[in-house]
Symmetry: C2
Subunit: 398 residues, 2 copies
């Protein structure tokens, strides 16, 4: 039961010139569900990517990082199997899929990026994926179907589009993402794919994506576990306008950030077992790192997360979580939504338990921590910790 998150409507999603999407049912883990996505990119498309920093990263991440250097012509994404912890055999199987797809579309295997998500340490059934490729190459561009084809424990497909008006004409930005657990991206989330028809150099695109990831996917946490397969890709096909002024560049980056943030927040809203969407905002810290440390201390505390689930304004747990970072709390102010609830010395004089209870009952809660030690700030989006989180993860493989 996602928090304030409906499935996107097909008519709200914009095609991106230069991008072709197709999906198929390969039966990777279960029969009868979309689990394969092929995204073809027009020649000349610039591509940027950020990947997990988990040292136990998956075979497709290793290959995608390597193949990124070439002119990429297609992405191939399967769900149901992460091809992680599979060693040299995993690399071989991922390459087989790249080779098969390259054969169909007439490019080099090194111009295909593979992505996988699902269970870890099971051999990738490459032959089933390869058999389903022709079907995935037939289909039309349908961003909603693409979003559905990459879901695992997600309950809602995640896709978002935006039109950005540049001085030489409008460009489209469309993106999809998946992820509900093992979410605490260090570079990007589980899987996110964003495309635009804007024209941008590869170097500019990569720098832009890194800034965007910092303000979107790298600000979310469901359970503090960074995935082995995290990948975020941004493709610019160049079929549309190019940003010709500094203002254009800023508008385009803001538009893509908006799509990325929408997708990142959708992952939290659909976090495993989530019943609350929580924004943790830390202000006036000494550095962004300090603010992020405090925000994640709150976002990762099982005691704070179960209190959100219970709609319990248990301020002590929030303050204890902050105190664990070692940051000086002498000048701290803590707010739940608009209510000042506590300071470093204890309860705020005006605070009444009903205020906290009212804030905690809402499906969307903002926790604001003002450190009064400097001028940096950071925001993290997270969800609560419910019976269903335990249930989903205790039963994942059974």
């Amino acid at each position: 039961m996602a928090v304030n998150l409906a499935a996107p409507r097909a008519e709200d999603l914009l095609s991106v010139a230069g991008v072709q999407l197709g999906v198929a049912m390969a039966g990777v883990k279960k029969a009868g569900r979309k689990d394969l996505l092929v995204m073809r990119l027009a020649p000349g498309t610039a591509l940027a990517g950020v990947f997990t920093r988990n040292t136990f990263c998956a075979a497709p991440v290793v290959l995608a990082r390597k193949h990124m250097k070439n002119d990429v012509r297609a992405l191939v994404v399967n769900t149901g199997n992460a091809n992680a912890g599979t060693g040299a055999d995993g690399i071989k199987r991922a390459l087989q899929v790249c080779e098969a797809l390259a054969g169909h579309i007439g490019c080099n295997p090194e111009e295909v990026l593979p992505f996988s998500t699902g269970v870890i340490m099971e051999p990738l059934p490459a032959e089933r994926i390869i058999a389903a490729l022709p079907k995935a190459l037939l289909a039309k561009s349908d961003w909603l179907a693409a979003a559905e084809a990459i879901m695992t424990t997600d309950t809602v497909p995640k896709a978002f589009s935006k039109k950005v008006r540049l001085s030489r004409g409008a460009v489209c930005v469309s993106g999809i993402a998946k992820g509900a657990g093992m979410i605490r991206p260090d570079m990007a989330t589980m899987l996110g794919f964003i495309a635009t028809d804007a024209r941008l150099s590869r170097a500019k695109l990569q720098a832009m994506l890194e800034r965007i990831a910092e303000r979107s996917f790298n600000c979310i946490s469901v359970d503090g576990d960074t995935s082995t397969n995290d990948s975020l890709i941004l493709a610019a096909t160049g079929a549309g306008a190019s940003p010709s002024t500094a203002r254009d560049a800023l508008k385009l980056e803001a538009g893509i950030t908006d799509v990325a943030r929408h997708l990142a927040q959708a992952i939290v809203r659909d976090g495993e077992g989530a019943t609350k969407f929580v924004t943790v905002r830390v202000e006036r810290g000494r550095s962004r790192d300090e603010c992020r440390k405090v925000a994640y201390a709150i976002a990762h505390s099982p005691l704070v997360k179960t209190a959100f689930f219970a709609s319990d304004p248990n301020l002590g747990r929030i303050l204890a979580a902050i105190g664990n970072t070692g940051v000086d709390l002498g000048k701290l102010s803590l707010y739940l939504d608009e209510f000042p609830v506590a300071t470093g010395a204890g309860r705020h004089g005006s605070y009444r338990e009903e205020q906290g209870a009212a804030a905690m009952r809402k499906p969307e809660i903002t926790v604001r921590v003002v450190l009064n030690r400097g001028s940096a700030e950071a925001t993290v989006w997270t969800c609560d910790f419910s019976y269903d989180y335990v249930k989903i993860n205790a039963e994942y493989r059974t």
Copy 2:
């Protein structure tokens, strides 16, 4: 339902000459339960203590740290209210309790150490505690009753005794502890009190306690949340023998460590919602810090902890948790109990799912990570993450 943990039998607990214990029902939070403990110490007792590093530490911790410098004559411990996040008023109320107890036993208030555990950010009902002091001063020395009087969400009282034979005679070591949630001690656990009749200087005792804490309470985690009230106290009354040789000193330290470790493990066995007791042993790392980082990454991962709960040998989650530390896994070997299950490259050749399933079904599991990068090692004890953890913490204040 604690994991392999029965309540201690009164007859197994040893009196410590120079220590008098008394308990009472002060009605701090609920009526009709033991919630107050007074531990009187004979003149000349040496005392050592380690405390939480949480910067949001409680009023009693502030006072106990300060009063430690004096010749301590009594400890006063209440449960039901942590007196944390209560500012100057909290300090005042804790001092009132010290003053009242000092009046009864004829010492200075600065020779009394106060301790509190329970809900955070509620005013301490000092008057109720003060009213119950005479009752707590009447009672006999009963370590089991003392352990019961400091319980919060604990389901089993935690006490342990040991006799250590030194060259000049035997000494006794008895200790009690409490804690079930908000457990990831940074200096000590929620509350632990150990006493011995051995004779030791205060400086030696403090150094010994710091070493002991590192190998006992500082090696456990239930939920990764460090409490605001963590305190571990070691008292040596000197009524018995003093260690007169280096071998005596080692034997005594080993004996006290044994008591401390038993109590620390009892906290994990009785961890909130725990159904499994898990030993995470990391070997052959570059440093003890590296080994501890890896061990805690496993012990704190909600995905790993829910897999333990489900008896699911989900190796990928363990490897992903290790990978998140950034430590090179190239030469890694992973074992579940005695079975080699994985290497950095993936599944171990000989591993069969039944082996992992058999290991995970047991109530006590050892996860052994051999990094093959150095010669350091570390062990952490933790428990699983169950529906009941969420239930206990979602309903704690309701």
